[in-house]
């Protein structure tokens, strides 16, 4: 009969994910790549925002996209139609991207030095929040056709984000959505959360989003040169 004993472990459950995230972050820093992890519910207009962004920013700096979905390559096809290199990662039954998937995707995708890499996560306000991908910032997109109490319903997501994009604001005249109240809810979770209100189809507010991206890229380039 073998003896029972206690073994102290004290190891983070996400240790493996976090070690891949650290590898990604190191790689991105060395190349001066500004990486954004875009997260939202399904239907918030993430892919529409992304295709509009890629079209408008074309030629200003190199961009690449990693598209996460459970199934299909529809989104990557939409991205490639803008002329941007994109790779589709199908998570199968998985509900989020993890850092290792990003490591593998980056190996198959031309990510230029001093570029912007958008990672569009699986449409889900729960699971992606827990997984560091090695990004510079987590960006959460919430459209005004959703409930304004979503920040309180999905607190981990909003607490983990650095930027909140409020999308579809051109529809506000037809809705009862209270933008100020939603932002107040979100800032209860993350007092320092930045907010940009825009419409990916109407175009208003996009300038601020583009300026935010360019500032981030300039910072990534600066850090690379040291």
């Amino acid at each position: 009969m073998s003896q029972t004993r206690l073994v102290a472990i004290e190891q983070d459950i996400l240790a493996k994910n976090d070690s891949f995230a650290a590898v990604n972050r190191q790689l991105f820093a060395a190349k001066g790549v500004f990486v954004l992890n875009l997260m939202s519910s399904p239907g918030s207009g993430k892919t529409t925002l992304l295709t509009r962004t890629l079209t408008d920013l074309k030629g200003r700096f190199p961009v690449a996209v990693i598209e996460g979905d459970q199934q299909t390559s529809f989104d990557a096809d939409r991205i490639r139609a803008t002329g941007t290199p994109a790779i589709q990662v199908n998570t199968g039954k998985g509900c989020h991207l993890d850092a290792q998937m990003v490591t593998q995707a980056v190996g198959r995708l031309p990510v230029a030095d001093e570029s912007v890499l958008f990672i569009e996560n699986v449409g889900n306000l729960v699971c992606p929040a827990g997984f560091d991908l090695g990004e510079a910032h987590k960006v959460v997109v919430l459209s005004v056709t959703e409930g304004e109490d979503k920040p309180l319903k999905y607190p981990a997501m909003f607490a983990s984000a650095d930027l909140l994009i409020v999308n579809k604001v051109d529809l506000l005249p037809h809705l009862t959505f209270d933008v100020a109240r939603m932002i107040d809810y979100a800032r209860r979770l993350k007092p320092s959360l930045e907010v940009i209100e825009l419409s990916a189809t109407g175009g208003q507010g996009l300038d601020r989003w583009y300026a935010w991206i360019e500032a981030g890229l300039a910072k990534a380039k600066g850090a690379r040169k040291g």
Partner: protein, 113 residues
């Protein structure tokens, strides 16, 4: 159901440790899952049951500690308890809170043979 991925993470930790510490069976897994973490203990139990099959941790009991949420209030300049992420500071009612505890997600120790 990211708890399935996290359960796989627990199995990965156990596998590594089994090689280093030389055990062949796990009877109890002690986890620390903070009350503010994005994880439901029931879903971890369910996920662990599924992914531990055929491993040295099959049939192991999960013992889960739930440390409470804690924050530092920047306005009051002191630590305060925090039951939910979106709760205000119990003293000043403000939201200038930095979470300092309750987000743990850790394998603490194993009872092994």
């Amino acid at each position: 159901m990211h708890e399935l991925a996290l359960s796989q993470g627990i199995i990965d930790v156990i596998r590594e440790q089994a090689a280093v510490q030389g055990f062949t069976r796990v009877k109890t897994v002690r986890l620390v899952i903070g009350t503010l973490s994005h994880v439901e203990p029931e879903a971890i139990e369910f996920g662990f049951d599924a992914v531990s099959r055929g491993t040295i941790a099959e049939g192991a009991t999960l013992a889960i500690e739930r440390p409470p949420g804690e924050a530092f209030c920047l306005s009051c300049e002191k630590p305060v308890p925090l039951a939910e992420r979106f709760d205000p500071c119990p003293d000043c009612g403000g939201h200038q809170l930095v979470v300092t505890g309750g987000e743990e997600l850790r394998v603490k120790e194993l009872e092994v043979e």
